[in-house]
């Protein structure tokens, strides 16, 4: 790493360069109370990827100069610093900018400055809005004080408590000096889940933190109370951190007004853990927008981020116009674009619940990948999904019982369409038969498809999701048979009970990675399953008659798979753990808790 100083309006700024000097320049700006060191992991990953990475300590922090007087920390000076660094390291080519926290607030000042044209090629913003945009954001909400809007204002206000403190004389500086700085490492570890590391925070922390309070005092009220119009033509990638305690995601709602070339992405991380724990993921996102701004085709994930942004903008406009209740809503109160920008994979998507689920995701803006044993039916689902407006839809032939095939499928999906945000392990087969009549072969088949299919799907896709670090959601379709024993469903109920338990275990394991797990227990749903179920110990004629009887039962019950699909979407949206769907599934679950003995007695009933 090369270090040199750049002087901006008399203030010496400590600047650090690494990576390939001929590669595209990425300029990283840190926030408060950090130094360039907060970017170490991101910078290393970007440099390894062939970028020319440049960082500097902002004025008042780390090894840079610290002018006196609050007014020296106005945004206009900070933007001048940024341009001075950019001019020094890349005088002839525009730089790609990424910034965090206060760095992001300063960078917005530069990005919305007329000088940005030709100097800034792309901008990735984490956890720091343009203060003027935030001012307008609050004004619009105060002008239209619907419960939704007031809720958003309140949420942001509760996350900004410290700003008030920072405006009081003495208190905040004293706090930093009297121990907060010394304990900052453990504060980050406890509150943010950041692994303590050597050299972080820097020894200059207490002094930086105290000086940096000037950032707040010089700028906050000015811009929030009298916001200026600050549009930009620079391509902007907004990375929303789902666990940010200081910046609420709603702040970005109106951003498309100011930055029409906008990509919205989400990262399951906290305010600091994004950079300190998920550096490589952030680096990859920065690299993607940079490459795209330089003319490369958009990576699939980035492509969907643009879609997500467009949809969100449309529904936001609608909401501001009509109020939240009248926005475009579909099935059970989900907004039409609820899953815009997401990729959903559905196994067994050629029929019944799987098809309905894939179509419901498509209808709500998601790209879908459908796999099934029967490719023609999966392709049909894909065609219908496109008719419903799916931005992308693809069909694959996969036997979920075959673990190698599922691994290959997951890899192909990741390469061709990106890592999915949602995976619905739905493929399954029905089987009726008492234990002593069920052959070993039948047992193996039921367990391989119903349990094995879910195991393989979870393993292959959860691995990808964890690697990507942006969270996700797994949905496993079990059955009410998971908690309602029956002597004639020995193998089926066993397989579904295993899926139920597997999901409970997995939920605990994946929660820290921001991956939700939902178990769905449908009940009697009118699908093909009655026609395709197998039954132990039946002659061909007897089998037909039994199937007819079951099909008639399911048809009379006539519960449509579309309603199961809605519940699946809701489960993902609200991260629900277990969802019994039909009345009988819900009543059965209640009964299995209130009186397990009764369900055991009912298990003796001959169903056919």
């Amino acid at each position: 790493m090369r270090r040199r100083a750049v002087v901006s309006a008399g203030v010496p700024l400590a600047m650090y360069e690494q990576g390939n000097p001929a590669g595209p320049t990425v300029l990283l700006v840190h926030g408060y109370p950090d130094t360039h060191g907060v970017w170490d992991d991101v910078a290393a990953a970007l440099a390894a990827d062939g970028h020319h990475v440049v960082r500097y300590d902002v004025r008042g922090a780390g090894a840079s100069g610290a002018p006196r007087g609050v007014s020296s920390y106005r945004l206009s000076h900070l933007a001048d610093d940024l341009f001075a660094v950019a001019d020094a390291v890349s005088p002839y080519r525009a730089v790609h900018l990424a910034a965090h926290d206060w760095g992001s607030i300063q960078a917005w000042e530069a990005v919305t400055d007329p000088r940005a044209a030709g100097r800034i090629a792309s901008y990735t913003s984490l956890s720091g809005p343009c203060l003027d945009h935030a001012g307008h954001w609050a004004r619009r909400r105060l002008a239209r004080p619907t419960p939704h809007h007031l809720g958003q204002l309140l949420t942001q206000a509760t996350r900004s408590w410290y700003i008030g403190l920072f405006h009081l004389p003495l208190l905040a500086p004293a706090g930093w000096r009297l121990g907060l700085a010394a304990r900052w490492g453990s504060v980050l570890a406890r509150a943010e889940g950041v692994t303590p590391r050597a050299g972080h925070p820097r020894p200059t922390l207490a002094a930086d933190a105290v000086r940096g309070i000037a950032l707040y005092r010089a700028n906050m009220l000015r811009h929030l109370l009298r916001p200026r119009q600050r549009p930009t033509a620079v391509p902007v990638q907004l990375i929303t951190l789902t666990r940010d305690r200081y910046v609420s995601p709603a702040l970005g709602d109106d951003l498309d007004r100011w930055a029409p070339r906008l990509w919205r992405r989400t990262l399951t991380a906290g305010h600091w853990s994004a950079l300190l724990e998920k550096g490589p993921t952030v680096a990859q996102m920065i690299g993607e927008i940079a490459a795209h701004a330089d003319g490369a085709p958009a990576a699939p994930a980035l492509e969907r981020a643009a879609a997500s942004s467009r949809e969100q903008a449309a529904s936001q406009r609608q909401r501001l116009r009509l109020g939240p209740r009248l926005g475009p809503r579909l099935g059970r109160g989900l907004e039409r674009a609820a899953f815009a920008g997401k990729l959903a994979v559905v196994t067994g998507g050629g029929s019944g619940i799987g098809r309905a689920t894939a179509l419901a995701f498509a209808e709500h803006g998601a790209a879908v990948v459908v796999c099934d044993l029967d490719l023609a039916t999966a392709e049909r689902t894909v065609e219908l999904a496109r008719l419903l407006g799916a931005p992308e839809a693809h069909a694959y032939r996969v036997d979920v019982a075959d673990s190698a095939a599922v691994d290959t499928f997951a890899r192909e999906v990741a390469v061709a369409h990106g890592v999915p945000d949602i995976v619905v392990n739905n493929a399954g087969v029905g089987h009726g038969g008492t234990f002593l009549r069920t052959t070993e072969k039948e047992w193996r088949h039921i367990l391989e498809v119903n349990l094995g299919g879910v195991v393989h799907g979870c393993r292959a896709f959860a691995t990808l999701m964890v690697e990507r670090g942006e969270g996700g959601h797994l949905v496993n379709v079990a059955s009410a048979a998971a908690y309602l024993p029956s002597k004639v469903l020995a193998a089926y109920a066993t397989s579904k009970a295993a899926v139920y338990m597997l999901s409970d275990c997995l939920r605990a394991e994946l929660a820290p990675a921001g991956i939700g797990v939902s178990t769905i227990c449908p009940g009697l749903v009118n699908t093909n399953i009655a026609r395709t179920s197998t039954f132990s110990g039946r002659s061909a004629d007897g089998l037909d008659a039994t199937r007819d009887r079951f099909a008639a039962l399911y048809a009379r019950r006539n519960f449509p798979p579309e309603k199961v699909a809605w519940q699946i979407l809701r489960a993902v949206r609200e991260n629900r753990a277990v969802v019994p769907v039909t009345v009988e599934a819900r009543a059965g679950r209640l009964l299995s808790r209130l009186s397990p003995a009764l369900t055991r007695a009912a298990a003796r009933i001959d169903i056919d």
């Binding site: 029929s351 039916t377 049909r380 219908l384 008719l387 419903l388 093909n528």
Partner: protein, 323 residues
């Protein structure tokens, strides 16, 4: 559309097997039925061409009634119907009164269905004509698939597959297509009903609950007559339809929908003791499919063949022969 009658009570298998009826019409009769069916479709086509955004269902059905009367129609088996938008899929229909034309206005991109059943000299037609106002990719997709239902039904009828089983196979095709069955919303869940020459003497042009008085008289008589043999003049999926197609004329109306877009056709199927064919192949939907098949060859192959059931082309070949 069909009559709002209840399906008959169960009858013994023994009595069911006695039923053998000769085909009751001669070539002259069939010509009259065919002529009237063409006339009805021609009127519906004219009204379809006249429709434009802003027109209500009531205006459309009234216009259809006037067109038919001007063409010499004396009575209606049931009053003319018009459905627009999601009403083509019978979404949120709870009572039979919702079938009646409403004040719903046609909008750009909306599907529509016209359904009428004119009577001339006791000869009856019952037709369904589906269309769309402006572009609708969903409508076009369903329309291309609708052809498979027409081929499937006649192929099964020729095989003398029991009516309730044909119904189930239509349902299976609907499931494979990913659509839903909307004919089951009709009273009695019927996909079709028998058509006879009405011979009743009640007042022409008077209707009760949408059905002509003469219709009700004739249907009532038919119903009692067929019941003696354990057959129903209605074609549904219950026990009453567990018999081979009865020789005679059947108005068949598969009606399918995807989300808020519903399509149907309705036309007469001729069932003789040993054969079955569509009364006419020169109808708007058949011509439309033919044109589409001529321009894009991929339509000659069904997207989803049901193994061993649908052999497209063969069925229509039969019908052409029969003409």
């Amino acid at each position: 559309m069909t009559a709002p009658l209840r399906t008959p009570a169960r009858t013994s298998a023994r009595r069911r097997s006695q039923a053998t009826t000769a085909f009751p019409y001669d070539g002259g009769d069939l010509d009259r039925f065919r002529e009237l069916q063409r006339l009805a479709y021609a009127c519906a086509e004219r009204v379809g061409a006249w429709l434009e955004p802003g027109v209500t269902e009531r205006q459309a059905s009234a216009r259809l009634g006037r067109e038919l009367a001007a063409a010499g129609v004396q009575d209606f088996f049931h009053i003319p119907f018009a459905w627009f938008g999601d009403r083509t899929a019978f979404r949120h229909f709870r009572t039979p009164l919702q079938f009646f034309p409403s004040r719903r206005r046609l909008e750009e991109g909306m599907p529509y269905i016209l359904d009428c059943a004119p009577v001339i000299d006791g000869y009856t037609a019952d037709i369904g004509y589906a269309g769309r106002a402006g572009a609708s990719p969903v409508w076009d997709r369903i329309d291309r698939d609708l052809r498979e239902y027409r081929d499937l039904i006649v192929a099964e009828a020729r095989r003398r597959t029991p009516l309730n089983e044909i119904y189930a196979r239509v349902d299976a095709l609907i499931a494979r297509h990913g659509y839903d069955n909307r004919h089951r919303v009709y009273p009695g869940r019927v996909i079709g009903h028998q058509i006879t020459r009405t011979t009743a003497r009640g007042p022409a042009g008077v209707s009760v609950l949408g059905f002509g008085v003469r219709t009700l008289q004739t249907l009532g008589r038919e119903f009692l007559g067929e019941r003696r043999y354990g057959r129903s003049p209605l074609w549904a999926d219950g026990r009453a339809s567990r018999h081979a197609p009865t020789p005679g004329l059947w108005a068949v109306e598969p009606h399918v929908a995807f989300r808020d877009v519903g399509l149907k056709f309705e036309e007469l199927l001729v069932v003789t003791e040993d054969d079955a064919y569509w009364l006419d192949d020169d109808l708007p939907h058949v011509r439309r499919w033919q044109r589409a098949a001529d321009t894009s060859s991929d339509l000659a192959v069904p997207d989803l063949a049901v193994p061993g059931v649908v052999v497209p082309g063969v069925a229509s070949g039969v019908a052409v022969e029969a003409r």
